[in-house]
Structure formats: C-alpha cells, structure tokens
C-alpha cells in the first residue's frame, strides 16, 4: 500500500512518457489525476492508521536490496513521517493544479514533478539510510532540472550553485551514514535497527565526528546559517511551482533527518552538542528575519523567511536534546518542530505560488513597482494577507500552533540556556511581523505602482491550487487535534530515545 503511494506518481510519469500523442491540457489533467489519487491514498493511510497512544510503524515493507551491506528497501510510516507525506501529496497536487495553464514543455514538466513526488514521498517513508540517501540525492537532481529548464533570470548559474552545494552536503551525509553503518554491530543501514541499538555508543569521539558529518549534510539541505547561501538564488530563479516544492517539501528533508536520524541514532552525541543546534537555530531565526526585512524582491524575501522558520525548528530540536530539561516541555518542542514543518510547507508553498502569480502578471518581483493591488485583485490580496499572517504566526493559523509549542517547549524546558534562546528567538516573530506588514502595506495597499495595472485577479485554477493550502493552515490553527494526535506519540518516542 505504502509502496503504491510512493511509486504511483512515477508510474504516471512513465505512462506520460510512453504515450507521445497527448495534448498539453490532457497531460496536466493526467498529472492532476495522479496527484489526486495519491492524495486520496494518503488520506486513506492516515484514517486507516487509527488512533492510539503509542507510536508504531504502519504500512511496513522490507525487501532485500544490497544484502552484503545489509541495505534494504524498507519503508513505513509513523507519526513523524505521516504528516510530511500528507503535506507532500497535498503540495504536489496544488502545484499540478497551479500548472494548468502552463504552455512551455508541459509534458517534461509534469514528468519531472511526478518523479519528484515519488522521490519526496519515498524519502519521508524510507526506513533505511541508503534508501533515504538515494531519494535525498535524486531530489537534488530533479530540482536542478526544474530550475534549469523552467526557471528565469540567472537560473543556470543558480541551478549549478544549488546542485553543487547540496550535492556536497549529500555526500558528506553519505560519509556520516557510512560511519553509522560501520559503527553498528552487526553493520547495517537499517534505521529501525540503528535506532534500537544506537551505534558508536562506546566511542564518543567517533560519534561526535559522525554527528558532525550527518549534521553538516542535513544543515546544508535545511538550510541553516551559515550554509544557506544556495537558497536565495535557487528560490528566486526557480519557477513558482518549483520554489513551492523546494521550500515546502525539500527543506523539510533536512529537519526531518535531524529528528529521524541524528537524534535517535546518536542520542549521546546529540545531548552533548545540543547547544550547537540551539545557537545555530537562534542565529538562523534572527539573521533570516533581519535579511528578509531588507529585501525588495518578494521571492528573496519569502526565501529568507524560510531560513527564519527553519531556525525555529533547529532551535526546537536543539532544546529537545538538553538532558537537564523537563521531559514534557521537550516533547512539546519536538511536536512543535514537526508541526512547524507542516505549517511552513503549507504557508510558504502558498506564498511562493502567490509570488509566481505576481511574476506571471508583471514579470517582476520588485515590491516597489507594485501597490494598491487590493483594489484590482481582491482574491489575490485576501489570500496573500492570510498567507502572510499565517507565516508571521498569528493565532488561529497553523504557524501560531507550531511556534507557540516551540517557544513553550524551549523556555519551559527549565534550563537557562534554552530559556534565553527561546526569549531571544521571540524577537524573530516581531521582525517577521514587521516585514510582512511592510509587504502587505507596499503590495496591497497605497497608491498604484507602475505594474499594478497588469495584475488582474487570480484565475480559477490558481485559486484552486492556493486556497486549500491556506484553508488547511486555518484548520490546523483552529482545530489542531487531528494533527497533534499523530505527532505527539512520535515526539514522545523521540524524546525517550534521545534520553538513552
């Protein structure tokens, strides 16, 4: 069942390649259909899991792949991966609908996105380090072709930078995985086995080195300051749907890896170096927010707020590693981190699609050349406002639920350092609020800019792509129980694993 969910998009992609005489519109319809079926399957998976206090892996499949290094095709979902799988399916569906009016090399675009959907779903479902790595690497290749093939501006250069930078990260990650493999007795790449008996528990020096390699690899992907420099150009020059996936889904691969791999497999080293994550997290929060505040390019601005939002997650997982802290608070921090991953995916995905609409109409991202859009494009303005408020963490939207838990977890964990870090990071919210209000003010209100006349309102497909993302953010903001019920057992499990 889970394998069907993962490989259905790929099968649809191969089908699209095999049938050469298909109009552009038919291609997109097939694409939307595949995404819709996949989303339905994920919803069925979610419902079929049922409730329960304990966290468990469901939909597990394990097939031998490279027996000599004990690597297998091992997939399954639990409370950490299910929300991200659902987010992936939803966001890819949104991008498919958004692309209904695409005219440039539609078939290749659809095939590439379906391929990327398989890759992203596979990564979150993977329970084997090598399988995780395969999908991790393929996501880079797929996104590179999206940026180079359909981007704009200086996209060849940005794409190359993105590829080289994240590819370096992935290979460092691979070295870390090899370290985990060699540290385990018997040698294995299996995540479940590695989590059960953490490798390298007897040699703290090696464990620290392996954590360093894994940490660098995941930090580049996340990205955290100071290894974030590939992100702004990649986002700016990617097509809107590509940015939405890159920010909404692919950045989560890094933070997901921290929670799934770094924390439970190297608990000792994680506890020892949790303060590093806290520092990096706080720096990311403030730096991302401050740089975003100075941007005039809408897309660069959203890209820097992503760095800011990822900073909250890194802060939270760092605070969760402080052994001295209160257990309930640390659980809350992990739950908040996972909720933030989902929330950021929904909201930032929507923001990137909206900035894509702006570019589609005016061929510019420059804030200064627009203004007063609320008059001519009320739906666009309304959705932008909702997305901006969700992104800055207004109560009633998903961002608030996530950030509230992160701050409560960090400050409430009882250690002075985490409390101070949490307090400083709250400043980040203040800055984000200021910068989004500035965006709303300059973009939607005030007098018309030189390009405002060109911006007509959202078309049906665009609304249909963006509105559900924000609606879900609203649902999570008002009634988050359905999501938290899935995440909380998993975060409790992570905390008990990291406490070993």
């Amino acid at each position: 069942m889970l394998s069907v969910v993962i490989f259905l998009p790929l099968a649809a992609a191969l089908g699209l390649l095999a049938v050469p005489r298909l109009g552009d519109r038919a291609v997109v319809l097939v694409w939307i259909g595949a995404c819709a079926v996949d989303l339905a399957l994920v919803v069925a998976l979610w419902i079929g899991r049922g409730g329960g206090a304990a966290d468990r892996i469901s939909g597990e499949t394990r097939v031998r792949w490279i027996p000599s290094v004990r690597a297998s095709y091992h997939v399954g979902v639990d409370g950490l991966s299910l929300p991200l799988i659902a987010l992936t399916a939803l966001l890819f569906g949104g991008c498919a609908v958004y692309s209904l009016r695409l005219t440039h090399r539609v078939r290749a675009f659809a095939v590439l996105f379906l391929f990327l959907e398989t890759v992203c779903l596979g990564l979150f479902a993977a329970l084997d380090l090598l399988l995780f790595f395969v999908f991790f690497d393929l996501s880079i290749v797929g996104m590179y072709f999206v940026i180079v093939g359909w981007g704009h501006g200086d996209n060849i250069r940005s794409g190359l930078k993105f590829f080289l930078y994240t590819f370096l990260g992935s290979l460092v990650l691979l070295l870390g995985f090899i370290g985990l493999y060699l540290g385990a007795e018997p040698h294995t790449f299996d995540m479940v086995d590695l989590t059960r008996t953490p490798p390298l528990s007897g040699s703290p020096g090696l464990a620290a080195l392996v954590l360093l390699a894994v940490g660098i690899g995941l930090a580049i992907k996340t990205p955290t300051v100071p290894v974030h420099t590939w992100l702004p150009p990649a986002h700016t020059d990617a097509p809107a749907a590509g940015s939405a996936i890159l920010a909404g889904v692919m950045l989560k691969m890094g933070t997901y890896g921290l929670v799934r791999i770094a924390m439970p497999m190297l608990p000792d080293a994680w506890r020892r170096y949790a303060w590093v994550a806290i520092v990096i997290g706080v720096v990311g929060v403030l730096y991302g927010a401050l740089v975003a505040l100075a941007q005039d390019n809408v897309k660069r601005l959203v890209a820097y707020t992503s760095i800011n939002h990822m900073g909250y997650i890194v802060l939270a997982v760092g605070a969760a590693g402080l052994a001295a802290g209160d257990v309930a608070a640390r659980r809350l921090a992990v739950t908040g981190a996972v909720t933030q991953m989902v929330s950021h995916g929904l909201v930032t995905g929507a923001l990137f699609l909206l900035s894509g609409v702006l570019y589609d109409r005016g061929r510019s991202y420059d804030l200064g050349r627009y203004g007063g859009l609320a008059r001519g494009a009320p739906v666009f303005a309304a959705l932008t406002a909702v997305a901006a408020f969700a992104s800055l963490g207004l109560p009633g939207l998903s961002g608030f639920i996530a950030e509230f838990q992160i701050f409560t977890g960090a400050i409430g964990s009882g250690t002075a350092m985490a409390a101070a870090a949490g307090a400083v990071a709250i400043l980040g919210i203040l800055i984000t609020a200021a910068l989004f209000l500035r965006v709303l003010h300059r973009l939607l209100l005030g007098t018309d800019g030189e390009l405002s006349g060109r911006v007509n309102d959202l078309r049906g497909a665009e609304t249909a792509a963006i509105a559900p993302l924000l609606a879900l953010s609203l649902v999570i903001g008002i009634a988050p129980r359905f999501l938290l019920d899935v995440i909380e057992p998993a975060s409790a499990a992570v905390i008990s694993l990291v406490a070993r």
Partner: protein
C-alpha cells in the same frame, strides 16, 4: 599440478573466435566481412557462457599461474560483456572498411590479454598478458590512419613500451630479491628482502599497471588516444584494459605485497588522490567531449584505486572494486556510445539534443549522472562500497578526498548535460547510427539495473 585446459575455456572461446574470425576474413570478399563480426560476437558469447558456468565452480589454480576465483570470474564476465558492447558499437562505423575483420580480431586479442592479466598469479604471465593486451590496442588506436590517430597510436605505443620495459625491470629486481616470480613465493621472499631493492621492484612493477589503468603518472596517453582514435576504439581502450589491470593490481596487493617491506598502501593512496584530482581538474574546461570523457576516465581510475589501497584490510574492498569496475565499464561505454550515435565531438554540438532525440539524450543523462555516482545507478553502489571500504580500512581521509572530487566532477558533467536541454535546436549533423543507439540505450538501462538490482549482482561476486 592442475593442467586441465577446460579451466581456461572462456579465454579459449574468445581466442577461437578471434582466430576463426581472422581466417574467415582472409577468404571473404569485402562486402561480406560482416561475417567476421558475427563470428567474433559468437566467440565472445560462448566465452560469456563458459565464464558464467565456471563461476559456479569452486576456486582453483590452473597451470600454477592462473587463479580461478571470484576476481577472475567478474573480470571475465565484465571484459567479455564490454567487448561485446564495443563490437556492437563499432559495427556501424567499420562496416565496409578495408580492414574490417582485423578490427574485430584485434579487439578480441586485447580482450584475451586483459582476462589473463586479471587472472595471472605469476609475474611472467602478467608480463606476457600485458603485452597481449597492449599491442592490439596500439594498432587499434591508429586504425583510422589519419594524423590524429597516428599520433595517438605512437604516443600510446611509446608510453606502453617504456612502461612495459620498466615493469620488466621491476619483475627482474623482484625475482632477484624474492627468489621467484610466482605471487605466493614472492610474498614469502619479500618479507626478508632488502627494503630498498624491494621498493624499486614494486614501484617499477606498478608502473606498467598504472599505464594500463590510465592512472597518474602514466595517464598522458589517455586524452590523446581518446580524442585521436576512432570513438569505438576510444571506448574500448578506456574501459576494457582497465578491468584486467585493476584485477591484477588487486591480486598483487592481496597475494604479493602483504609482507613486503614497503608502504605500498600509502603509495597507491597518493597515486589515487593525484589521479582523481588531476582527472577532474583537467576535465573542467574541455570543449571536446571525447577529451572530457578521457579525463573523466582518469578520475574514475583514481576512485578505482581506493579499494586497492585497502585490499586485504577491509572486507568490502573486493566487492567494491569488482562492482565499481562492472558499473564503470557499462556506464563509460554508454557515454561513448552516445558520442558515436550523435557523431559529434564538440560540446556545442550537443545543444538542443533533447529535441532531436529525447531517448538518446536521456541515455546520456543517465550515463553522465551515473559517472558522477548519482543513485540509483550502478556506479553509485560501487562508490558507496568504495567509500565504505576506505573508511573501514582506516583511510577515512581518502574517502573525504574522493567525496570532494565527486562534487567537483559534477561541474563538468553538468557542462555537458545542460546544453542538451537548451532551447535552440541546430539542425542535426550526425547520421543515425542505429547500432550505437541501441548500445547507448542498453548501457544506460544496464547501468540503472545494476544499481537497483545490485543485491542480485553482488551475490554472484
């Protein structure tokens, strides 16, 4: 002593294919020389079957000098399969050529030499295999009889002759200090040998093998031959001789060197670093795809040296080397097959290729990303095993260097991949070479299957 010729059946089948092919070629009119290709392919296929059957038997030593073990089995299968691909690849371009039959026969002789090179357990056999594998290569390099080909052949020949003599000198020294030429005799003999003489002998011995692998410092022939020789020959000489040479190197590392009073691991590690780094840096701004591929094969030789460094120290080394060799061979031939099919050497000639022939462009992307080591291609699994072996064998720094080099290599492979998706599609220049296309598709597919089905492939090695 075991003197059953049946143990050499794969080699004999290939040899028979070559000899019968040569005789048939003598008596065939030029328009029907294609029969030689069929005979040679049949010889290779028979050899493949024999090698596959032999792989199921227990390990043995034939004639005291010929090891039959997993390394030999994999060498045979990969050499034969790669040669078969090259025969198919060249069928289109040499059809009707004045020396068509000689072309195939030379390929087969070189393949026989390569297989013996990988299986020999005696330095004298190693030397004769070296000659048998090299001399047909010199002739093939100059096959086109054009200026570039002649220069390439001369360079190839002079380099090969020089390093062959050096190797012979090394063997003489080792014979002197180790009282034998068989690997097991030398292993014991070198333990008590004077370190200086042993070091000279070992270094000189490695020189010849470095020439065959195309590794630094014996790499100078690679770019010129790859650019000057006919493309199918370039595919052959950058792929097949490497297989036997690396098998021989591995065998020497495991059987001959363990007790030698020389830090040969460090020596090979330094050569590996130099090879991969130089290959990658030199490939950066090449505008000729064949030169680019030439430097890429040099860098791949650097990665392939890593398992040799940790041979006998890590349980993963043997698998890493053999799997990497197989994956590299098929992927590299696939890339060359695309060059043959497109019939274009300039990088600019690949602009907009995806319009003209999407499936060929896809094969190119698979092969080039495969050479980078992107999952799920075969080279990825090879690279993974290689890195694992290096870390396991306490050469983590070497793994780190290999990783950095891999990242650097992405740059020049992308320089080739990106233009294929460019918008303006210039009119097609090259003819449609059906055989080369089929080889390209096959190689790309096998490269992917090797990665996905690596579990199955690894159980055989």
């Amino acid at each position: 002593m075991n003197e059953n010729p049946a143990y050499l059946l794969p080699e004999l089948c290939t040899l028979a294919g070559a000899v019968i092919g040569l005789l048939t070629g003598l008596f065939s009119p030029r328009a029907r020389q294609w029969r030689v290709a069929v005979i040679c392919a049949a010889g290779l296929l028979a050899g493949l079957v024999a090698a596959a059957v032999a792989a199921g038997r227990p390990d043995a030593v034939a004639f005291d000098t010929f090891m039959i073990d997993p390394v030999t089995h994999v060498t045979r299968v990969v050499v034969l399969a790669a040669t078969l691909l090259v025969v198919a690849l060249s069928a289109g371009s040499v059809r009707g050529h004045r020396r068509e039959s000689e072309f195939y026969v030379l390929l087969l002789f070189a393949a026989v030499g390569t297989m013996v090179l990988g299986a020999s357990a005696d330095l004298l056999v190693l030397l004769s295999a070296y000659l048998l594998a090299s001399i047909p290569g010199y002739a093939l390099a100059g096959f086109g009889k054009d200026a570039a080909g002649t220069e390439a052949a001369l360079k190839y020949y002079l380099m090969g002759a020089l390093l062959g003599i050096v190797m012979l000198a090394g063997i003489t020294v080792l014979y002197g200090v180790g009282r034998g030429t068989a690997y097991d005799t030398l292993r014991e003999g070198l333990a008590s040998a004077p370190a200086g003489a042993a070091a000279v002998g070992v270094v000189a011995l490695l020189a010849g093998l470095m020439f065959k692998t195309g590794a630094v410092p014996a790499h100078f022939w690679v770019p010129d031959v790859t650019e000057g020789a006919p493309p199918a020959v370039a595919a052959f000489v950058t792929t097949v001789p490497k297989i036997g040479a690396f098998a021989a190197l591995y065998r020497i590392a495991v059987e001959l060197l363990p007790r030698a009073p020389v830090d040969w691991r460090l020596l090979i590690a330094i050569l590996a670093v130099a090879t991969m780094t130089l290959g990658n840096l030199a490939a950066f701004y090449q505008d000729n795809v064949r030169r680019l591929l030439a430097y890429s094969t040099i860098s791949q030789a650097g990665y392939l040296l890593v398992p040799v460094v940790v041979a006998g120290r890590s349980g993963l080394a043997e698998q890493a080397l053999l799997f990497y060799l197989a994956a590299y061979a098929v992927t590299n031939i696939g890339a060359f097959a695309v060059v043959v099919a497109v019939g274009e050497d300039r990088l600019a000639g690949y602009a907009g290729m995806v319009r003209r022939s999407p499936s060929l462009a896809l094969s190119l992307v698979v092969c080039l990303l495969g050479l980078v080591g992107t999952p799920p291609t075969g080279v990825f699994v090879g690279k993974l095993l290689m890195l694992g072996a290096a870390v396991d064998g306490r050469y983590a720094w070497l793994a780190a260097v290999a990783v950095l080099n891999t990242v650097a290599s992405v740059f020049y492979y992308l320089r080739w991949i990106v233009p294929t998706f460019a918008r303006p599609a210039p009119p097609s220049t090259g003819g449609i070479n059906l055989e080369a296309r089929v080889v390209a598709y096959t190689a790309a597919a096998v490269s992917l299957l090797l990665g996905i089905g690596s579990g199955i492939a690894l159980t055989f090695s």
